[in-house]
Each structure stands twice: as C-alpha cells, then as structure tokens.
Symmetry: C2
Subunit: 551 residues, 2 copies
C-alpha cells in the first residue's frame, strides 16, 4: 500500500527558513576580544545567507555541486556560509586551520574547492598555501586582517561584505534531493591520506533533530550555547544547524579560545550550555581557580573529542556545571552517544559511573561489537570488541575525488556496510558504551585481545613510573604480545620483575595478559596533539633500536 504522506525532502534550506522566520529574534553573538561583541539576529543571518547565495551564484559563478572551502573561526559569517552554501545546492567544505600546510593543500586540491571563504586573521595561513591550490578561483575575505598578504595571488580576491552589499535578502532555494551532498569534512588520519566524509542534507537534518531531543542536548530558545568546538571540527558537533532549528542563541568565541577570554565571555554573555573538548575545560578550570568569575549561568557542558577525566567532571560538578559526555567522530556527524544516565540510577552512586561512560546510543545509531575473530560480542559490559555503527547520519564510504567512485576500505567499512569505528570498548545491556582502546593499539594474543591502555594505566599507578606505553609486537606462538616501554621517575631504579608483580597483584591484570618484554625509554614519543605515538615505538622495536629484557 502507498502512503498518502507528502514527499517533502529534509533540506538545510528548511532549517534556514524556519529559524530565520520563526526564531528571527534569536541571536548569534560573536566575541570580539576587547571590543563590543558583534550581535546578529537569526532574521539577519537569513537575509545575509540569501545575499551570500546571490553573490556566489551571480558574481562568482558558483553552481549546484560546486565545492566551497571555509577557513574560518566560529562566527556569524561562518554560520551564514553554513546555510547559504548547501541551501543553494553547493557543498560546504570546512577547512581545519590546525592542520599542517601540506595536508591542508592536499585536502583543498582533493575536494577541488573552487572558492575559499577565509577570515582576514587567517590570511597568514592561507596566502602561502595559494600557489599550491590547483582548483581555487576565488578567495573571499571576511573580517579584520592584512589584505596585502594576498597581493599578486592568482585567484580573484573579494571582500565578503562588498559581495553581499545590495543583494536581495531572499533567495528561491532549490528543491534538492535530500540525499545530495551538503557539506564535507576530512578526517586527519594519523596514517595515509586524509579521508573526506560527505554529509547529505538528510543526514544533517536528522542529526539536528537528534541533537535537539530532550535525551540528547535538548536545548530550547531559552538557551544560549557557547560553541567552542570549532565549526571546522565535524560541523561544530552539529550545533549551528541544531540551534538554528529551535532558536537556541549561539555564542561564538571567534579566535579568542584562551581560558581568559572564555571565562570573560561566559561571565558577560551568560550562556546556559557549552560544548568543547576536555583540554579547553582543563584550561578554563585553572583560569577560574586563579581569577574567580560568575559563571553560574552555565549549567550544561557537553564534552567530547576525548574522554573527560573523572577529576575534571567532579571539579565541574562542584561549580554546578553539569558535564555530559558525548562520543562521536567525523564519520558519525558526530553524535554517536550521549551520556545521560538511565532514570533508575539518578541520585545513586551509579549515576557518576554512567556519566563517565561515553554514553548511550540514540535510536538513530545502531551498534555492535566485533571480536578478534570477527565474531559478534554480547552487550554485557565486559566483552571488549571493535565498535561498529550504522545509521542515517553515519558514513558508509569516503569521498573518492571528483568523478571517482567512493572509497570503501575494508578496514573502515564492513561488507554489510557498517562503519568500523576503530574504537574498542564494551557496551552494557542498556546500551552504554565505554571505550578502552583504539583497535590499532590492541594486542591480539592467541585469539584474545589485550588492552594496551589498561596495561599502561596499571603501570603508571606504580610510584616509580613516570610514563608507560604498551605496544603490540609480533610473537611466533601467540601472534602478538605486549611490549612494555617504561619511563622511570628521576632516581627510581628499574626492576621489571617488581613491575610485573605489581601488575599481577590483586588481580589487576590477568596472568596471560602480563608482558614478557620490557624496556626502559627516555620519554614516550608523542603526536602533534600530545597523544602517545605508538607507531614510532613499533618502528623502533622492529628496527632493533630498543634494549628489550624478557622475563
């Protein structure tokens, strides 16, 4: 039987039209450092998004399917680009301004960006890149910055405000296929080339509804959200779209991401909600310790990107800021889980335990755990496996480049189309995820998995150990076995037998999981973002550069 429902596609232009008309007085406030914050209503954002679309189409020749890069901080103009570009049928490509220049150039060329909209303050980053960008025909500059840096470049240079001036404030947004591309974002993988994830209008619309559900972030037009997570980082966790859908005010920090300005904008603008990675909050806590301020408006804090240390969560509890964990990745739009504890533990000791998990999957995200031999593992809170997810806002492939087929590498997508997250963890019977490892850091020993993170945490609990990293090394009998690399504290003496006994004591680590291979190192090599760089250790081991003791 046929349904008699209307066939209305889920489009970003509908979020734009709705927000700018029905929530026209809600505001996007952009922080301006010493100066007065810049305020723009949703109605004005709607007008200006239409003006931007006219300018892009009529002055810059942007057509449906064109890819446009943005090299911008979180601000009102970036929100305008967020809505104008997909609504007109083009593709918004947010560029991560923290990437090394070479990688950034590779990404712009791979996506074939025809236009780059950049903040003036980022021209020192963009200008030296331009000679290496093969597809960029236009650069549009917004906000303060030294334009002379662009003297003599090949692409045409435009001023954002000049482009908009005098353009009509309405636009006849096309009726698109909801599955067409709306936005893209590249993952900065530690190995191989970056991979492009292409979001559809449908995926962004559904994700926005999900963010707005009461059991998720659940904000309303009575809220103001301080969006610290960058707009170039998985669409700022979907917040600009979600907030526009329900009239939530946005507070945008622009380039003022240091603890001092953040504390100041919280005190002055009184957001009720904020979203950022843990390091931002560590800094903010320290700042508030040194210079106390009234941050009482901020009652809900969404933390993602990496796990929130329990001590940080407790410190925020003391400030009456309620931290809520969320987990996701570029490939999951990103909302994969939200750690709202189940009703039956509210007010009990278990509540905090649930808040420390990565959270519960919403209805739109199906999850399963896969063990070392590809077997499905139960949701018993104990069996650890690689997390695989499926859903309408989960990637099923990577962008293959202009005219090329999408990429479906077997280590990232299962044969039946699920995303292999590369994260290893457990799931409770009621669907709460706890991540323990990255799949590539797990030691596959005799058909079982050993968590490197668990061994590291246990080792670092010993008073003599400053740091410890555990990596998998090949083993003839077991396939892989753990190698413990240990950094001793000053004055401490190495005794691997003592450390091994320490791990075994009180059943902390199962006997078969205890490392036989041990070595002392000067320091654990780190990536650019401060994570243990285990591939360096594996390489040094393979090259015979480590002095390994077997016990």
């Amino acid at each position: 039987m046929l349904s008699t429902m209307q066939d209305v596609p889920l489009l970003i232009s509908r979020i734009l039209s709705h927000g700018s008309a029905l929530h026209g007085t809600s505001q996007v406030t952009t922080w301006a450092g010493e100066g007065e914050p810049h305020r723009r209503t949703f109605a004005e954002i709607g007008d200006r998004a239409a003006q931007l679309a006219h300018a892009l189409r009529d002055d810059l020749g942007v057509t449906p399917g064109s890819v446009l890069g943005t090299l911008m901080w979180n601000n009102a103009e970036h929100v305008e680009a967020y809505f104008a570009i997909p609504s007109m049928g083009a593709v918004l490509h947010t560029l991560n301004l923290r990437l090394p220049a070479e990688q950034l150039a590779w990404i712009v060329n791979h996506a074939a960006d025809r236009v780059v909209i950049a903040n003036g303050s980022l021209l020192p980053l963009l200008a030296p890149l331009l000679p290496h960008l093969t597809s960029v025909e236009h650069v549009v500059v917004s906000g303060p910055g030294d334009r002379s840096l662009l003297a003599g470049v090949t692409p045409q240079v435009h001023e954002y405000e000049e482009l908009l001036a005098g353009k009509p404030t309405t636009y006849d947004w096309p009726e698109l296929d909801e599955r067409s591309a709306a936005a893209m974002c590249y993952t900065s993988g530690t190995t191989g080339d970056p991979k492009g994830v292409v979001y559809s209008h449908r995926s962004i619309y559904l994700h926005s509804m999900q963010v707005n559900m009461a059991q998720s972030m659940g904000l309303t037009d009575q809220d103001t959200s301080l969006i610290v997570v960058p707009q170039f980082h998985v669409n700022a966790w979907g917040l600009p779209h979600a907030t526009f859908m329900t009239g939530v005010n946005m507070l945008m920090p622009e380039r003022f991401l240091q603890p001092g300005p953040l504390a100041e904008m919280i005190e002055k603008e009184q957001p009720t909600h904020a979203a950022a990675v843990p390091t931002i909050w560590q800094g903010l806590l320290a700042e508030l310790g040194e210079r106390p301020r009234d941050v009482g408006s901020l009652t809900q804090v969404t933390i993602g990107g990496s796990a929130c240390p329990p001590a940080l969560m407790e410190a925020f509890d003391k400030l009456d800021m309620r931290v809520c964990h969320a987990w996701g990745m570029t490939e999951t739009s990103p909302l994969g889980t939200v750690a709202r504890p189940p009703a039956h533990v509210i007010g009990t000791a278990q509540e905090f335990e649930y808040r420390l998990t990565q959270g519960r999957f919403p209805a739109g995200v199906e999850a399963r755990l896969t063990g070392p031999a590809g077997e499905r593992l139960p949701w018993d809170g104990e069996s650890a496996g690689e997390l695989e997810v499926r859903g309408p806002w989960i990637a099923g492939a990577y962008y293959g480049g202009e005219g090329a087929e999408p990429l479906r590498p077997a280590d990232k997508f299962s044969e039946d189309g699920w995303l292999k997250t590369g994260d290893v963890g457990t799931i409770t019977p009621d669907g709460y995820l706890t991540l323990t490892d990255r799949a590539k850091d797990v030691i596959k020993s005799g058909g079982e998995w050993i968590s490197s993170v668990e061994l590291e945490n246990a080792l670092m609990a010993h008073p003599d150990v400053a740091e410890a990293a555990v990596v998998a090394v090949p083993d003839d009998k077991w396939g892989e076995r753990p190698l413990a690399t240990v950094v001793l504290k000053g004055g401490a003496t190495a005794d691997f037998t003592v450390l091994r006994s320490f791990l075994a004591d009180e059943g902390k680590i199962a006997k078969w999981q205890l490392p036989e291979r041990w070595t002392i190192i000067e320091s654990v090599p780190k990536t650019s973002v401060g994570k243990f760089d285990k591939k360096v250790l594996r390489r040094r081991y393979a090259a015979g550069e480590l002095d390994v003791t077997r016990i």
Copy 2:
C-alpha cells in the same frame, strides 16, 4: 557530488529494536480498574511484538501490505500491535470505537482489513458488525470479555495469548522502503465518506523525533506519560512511538476513562506527563474539587483536539500542572504546533497569551495562510486566512481504496500539494497560530471573510441570549451574508435591533460584518460530539423552514 552517508531507512522496527534493547526496563503500565495494574517492560513488549508477528505471518497468513484493524483501548497489547504490524511490513489500521456502527463497517471494508484484533470488552460492538464486514478473515481477541458473542461468526476466531504462546521472541524484521505504508487512520468527516490517511514509516519516525525534541513534548526516560488520548485517535498523538524511542514509561488507562479512575491512577502511578482533549481535563478538575488527591507528580499536560478554555488553563496552573496547547489533525500525524511561549515572554503577562494560542510550528511543518481570493496573507497576527501546511509528516492525499489511485480533492489539497486544513486563523510574525474558525463556517462576503465564531461569541455575551449560531447564506450582492440564529433565555423577548446594536457597540464587530438576517430558534442543532451542526441550519434556511427577519 554524492553524499557518502549510509542509506539506512527510517523504520518503525528500528524504534522497536532500540526501545526494547536500550530502554528494556522502561514500562507500559495498563490500568485494570479494581485489580492490580498490569506491568510489562519494553523488553517484554519487544519479545511479544516478535511473537505476534510470527503468529500473524505463520498462523494467519498475514503478508507485507496486509491491512490489520485494531479495535482496542490504550493498553500494552495495543502497543505490541503498534510495533509488530508495521515492522513486519503490514499496515496497522486503528479503528475508532466511538464511531456509529455503519461508519465503522464502511471504514473496515474500505481499508479491506483482513484481520481485526479486538479487546474482549469491545466484542459487544464488534460482533454485530461482523456480518457487514466483507474482508475480515480473522478476529483475534485480547483481554476479558464474553467470547460467546462470537459464536457462529464467519471469520476465524483466535485468542491473542494463545497465538503468541511459544512463538520465537525475535523476528527478522524486513528492510522496508521508509516511504511504504505503516499505519492508517480515517477522519470522521461531518460530510461525505470518511477519508483514510496512510502514514509511512518515514513520517512516523520523523514525527516521533519531533515529539521528543525539547521544544516539543521533550520527554525522557525519567518521565511517565499518562496517554489518555486514544490509540485509535491519530496514533495517540504519536506518543507510543515517541515514548518507545526514548524510554519514556507509558501509563495506559485501558477503558477506565472516567474522572475517578483517572485521578486514582495519577495518584498511584505518579505520571509526570499526560495527554488528552479538554473535556477529559474538565472532568478531572471537577473530580479533584470533590475528592482531592495527590496529583503533584503531574507537571506537564498536553492538551489538543480542541482549544483549552483559559479558565481551565488557569485552574491547572493553580495545581502546578503546566498545560501546553498543541494543534493537529489526523492529516498532520498530528503534531502541527506546540504552544511553548517564546523565550522573551517567559515570566511576563504575555506568556499566558502565547500559551492560549494553538502554538508555534516546528521546523518540519511549513505553514501559509490563504485569503478568500486565494491570495497569500501576511503573518501579522491579524490577517485571518485558511491555514495550509506542508511537511514530511503531513498528508498529501487520501487513501483511494485497494488498487485505486489516491484521492486529492481540490478542497483539501492545493495544486502545489499543500494540505488545506479547513481551519481559519492568524499567525504572528514569530509563527504562533491562533485558530478562529473552520473554513466552512466562515462567511465570504464581498471578497472579505466574516468570522461566524466571533459573531456567535459576541451575541452570546448578551444577557438575553442562551445560544447563538451564525451561518452563511447566499446573497445576490455580496455572495454570502451572515444569518444570526438565536436561542433566547427563558422569559427574554426578542428584539433583533437591540441585539444588532449590542454587536455594533464599542466596535466589537465592524459595521459591514453585522447580520441583516435574524431568526429565533428553539435550540441549536448539535453533532454527536456536541458541536454546533451548522449544516442542519443551512439546510433549514434553504428549505424556507426558518422565519427570517431582515433589519
């Protein structure tokens, strides 16, 4: 450019799988009158929905596309049918047990229901109908009731619990097209045959997300929702689907819809939310006045179906029950608007005014007002026009019957596919709807509209008037003009000139809107649900049966 998102359809089976696994301990509690309420967890509902699907497929020969009627109260078994039937690819057809028998038979035959699942307590209604039902092959009976009423009927009779017993508790739900039919509901129009609205998996899934958004009902697994609005009334406003999606506990009143039992179940089961039409609440208020009870758990009350009188809203405010208006119809799934006031009026005198409107449209519902000449009217809070809506959970046609094309009558659907709601009202600039009339009751006079409801309310404010109904009658010069039909209070004497002056006084009614035609009647004819039956008055006028005075 192609999106790289997974193509995962929005299916009711996904809501079922999610709710029964991740919110497995949430409960459906069915009231049982004097006996202990019956409790079933979402996990059990999931198991039993799978058992029901097996029974329907294997024992009753139900196939994808089969239509199954339910003649049931709100209870756990009805929830099981809600999920099992669409999830297996068949179509759930909820039957309105308040309809006249003839209309009910017409509806069952038109939808070609192959199976009817009925509560035992409703067999006195069903049994006499069966000889008139042409397509029903099986009757499944659930719960207490006199089975002997079915002796000798043609369809095969089954016991619900016997069918389920021993069946597997998992089912391999098919991967359906999200646009395929999931459920249907007939509107009980006052004119012509009932019209079938066929909901899709997509429309129900999206509607459920909308219900769960914080700015809508916004419930979580910490809530219990008392679902008084019948499951045969537009899917109980979408609550069974929405609550299962987020683990909200359901409290189901079964057939105990009288004020006494409702008050008792609120006191004993402590729901936090309830949904029903105003008359239910009027009765509950009176009951609480006579027999006070602790109903303090109930803080949020959704009222729809017809407007909530201001006095009722104030009475609930005094009980700390927050009434929230919602507007919708069978054709809108039904959530069309929700009256959460905008942030800027919270705590001001305007807040109550906003709460009395029908509410604000969510992002998924586009709205426009059409004037008498088909022109678009502005959202200025003053221009009254017929409301037309569009969106992914709004009907674009009616069911045409088996194998027939869908029906798109021109008075119900615009040429560009919008639903003409038949409701006349205004919309504020920030998107709040206030309904003033049914389109068919508006008087179209010289290209302008006159509100019959406004005239009636003004007339009934006169101390001599007991009731008044105003209807449109043909007029050579103006097209239509108002005819005022007045019921005088006992002892009062008719003086139309006085009444006309009363209307004109203090600018209550514009001069050109004042009726010239007046008549006294004994009483205003009413429909079965107590509404003014204006078509009777129009017919009596046309037949010359009314003694009309022109002034």
